[in-house]
């Protein structure tokens, strides 16, 4: 039976209005707050399997500084966190929070040598184990890599890097590098004005890489599928995350632009964190690097070279079809990326 066209149009407009003007229910997996420092919070997800069925080595998730980490737990049935809990992991999430004006001087040094070691100490105390695994995504992968090089001997067994922007030598492939070139972009002037790098500016930068897709295509896709509640629900949740921007602490932003995008110090072994040189060859943990083949934010040339720099005897490079976020939060994530991470990590978490 063909629906009344007026009712159908009204339903469509109602669905459109809801998707565009409200926030979806996200991050619903139960968790408890176990540690805080400044704006940072460490959560432990409530395990769903009994202790004897769980992996003894806990996993700590570290996401980027300028986006909300709930992309890892987007919505029930489409959540990496939920998937890994069901596979028996003792799961922790380090949420960096929203930096305020008083945090404008926070640098990678603070995040990797103050916040991360303290959160990991708490994780060890709660789990009662000395070894743990780290999963870093995007800027979170930069932080986990620095941590692994400087403090990797403090119990880090497995390191998973997702779409990790570590090598900045291929300037031609990096649009961000062109935009933030010192001839056109005065990082100190911007930070003197704003303190922290505003989330809206970072969001504009990310979206402007593919303007047509992000500013037009996404909404066209929603309208085309407006009669499909499942698709609308997924779009709504993703839009909630995409529009929930977080500023990046000024000190960390300056390091990202000057030390990494311009001078490529990490890969050249010249990055100094609180007086210590970050030597990637000191990384000995088992390493899984995941590359998104369609990633326009972190192209594969930024993640591949780390494989030859680390000393890990056990390392694997895994390529998966999809974009920067899609490989972990898209429709194919539960078929390809998550099972691969579980398969790799499960064998190394006994």
């Amino acid at each position: 039976m063909i629906a009344d066209p007026v009712t159908a149009a009204a339903n469509r407009l109602q669905a459109l209005n809801k998707a565009l003007t409200t926030k979806a229910a996200i991050a619903q997996t139960p968790k408890e707050l176990v540690w805080t420092l400044n704006k940072s919070k460490l959560y432990r997800y409530v395990p769903v399997l009994p202790k004897e069925k769980r992996h003894p080595v806990p996993l700590l998730l570290v996401f980027a500084l300028m986006n909300r980490p709930y992309i890892l737990d987007l919505r029930p049935g489409h959540s990496f966190v939920e998937y890994m809990l069901n596979k028996g992991y003792d799961l922790y999430l380090l949420d960096w929070g929203v930096p305020g004006p008083e945090d404008k001087n926070l640098k990678f040094d603070d995040y990797t040598l103050d916040y991360m070691p303290r959160a990991i100490r708490k994780l060890k105390a709660i789990s009662g184990v000395e070894e743990f695994s780290l999963l870093g995504w995007c800027i979170g992968a930069i932080l986990t890599t620095i941590y692994a090089a400087l403090r990797g001997d403090e119990g880090l067994r497995n390191l998973i890097l997702l779409t990790a922007p570590l090598d900045f030598s291929n300037k031609q492939s990096l649009t961000f590098a062109r935009w933030t070139d010192e001839r056109y972009f005065d990082v100190d002037k911007v930070l003197a004005a704003f303190g922290n790098m505003p989330g809206e500016m970072i969001d504009y930068g990310a979206k402007a890489l593919k303007p047509m897709e992000n500013y037009v295509g996404s909404y066209v896709k929603l309208w085309d599928n407006i009669d499909d509640p499942r698709m609308v629900e997924g779009w709504h949740a993703m839009n909630t995350w995409v529009t929930d921007n977080v500023p990046l602490a000024g000190g960390a932003f300056r390091q990202l632009i000057v030390d990494l995008y311009r001078d490529d110090k990490l890969m050249r072994g010249e990055l100094v964190i609180r007086g210590e040189r970050v030597d990637l060859s000191r990384i000995q943990a088992n390493l899984l690097t995941v590359i998104a083949e369609g990633d326009h934010i972190t192209p594969s040339c930024q993640s591949e070279p780390v494989m030859s720099k680390v000393s890990s005897p056990d390392k694997e490079l895994f390529r998966v079809r999809g974009g920067h976020i899609g490989i972990m939060a898209g429709s194919g994530a539960s078929k390809y990326t998550w099972p691969h991470i579980d398969g790799w990590l499960g064998r190394r978490s006994q």
Binding site: G100, E102, D114, R178, F185, K189, K210, M212
Partner: protein, 144 residues
Amino acid sequence: MAEDPTQDAKRLDPMEPWRAARDSYMEAWGKTMVDMVNSEAYAQSTGAMLESYMTVSAPFREAVEKAMLKTLEQMGMPSRADVLSIAERMTNIEMRLDDLDAKLDNIQRLIVTVGAGRRSKAGKAPQPSKKKTMKAKPAKRGKK
């Protein structure tokens, strides 16, 4: 067997050719725009726009900040810098508390380890401990 009306609707959708044309148009535009944002000229122009915004807005921003600072001072209210300084000190205090928490955790772990060690010694080797007390007793008697 009844036919699925939605399949009929899909087959007869008059908008489909329009949609296909729209998608190919958007794809072409998308490629053009990606090329554009990747160009040196785009980087230069956005840099120039940001620079001019900063240059124009800086005097206004500074004037507002100065005026606000004076107003707060006259009203006996803490300035933005005062509040930020307190927030920074709070973070330092939090760090010291975290250090204390770490030390307490260590002490607790040591107590548990020592306690467990004593319990296992007492449980696993009762004979030697008895012998020790037996040996000790005659010595005391001897002294008396």
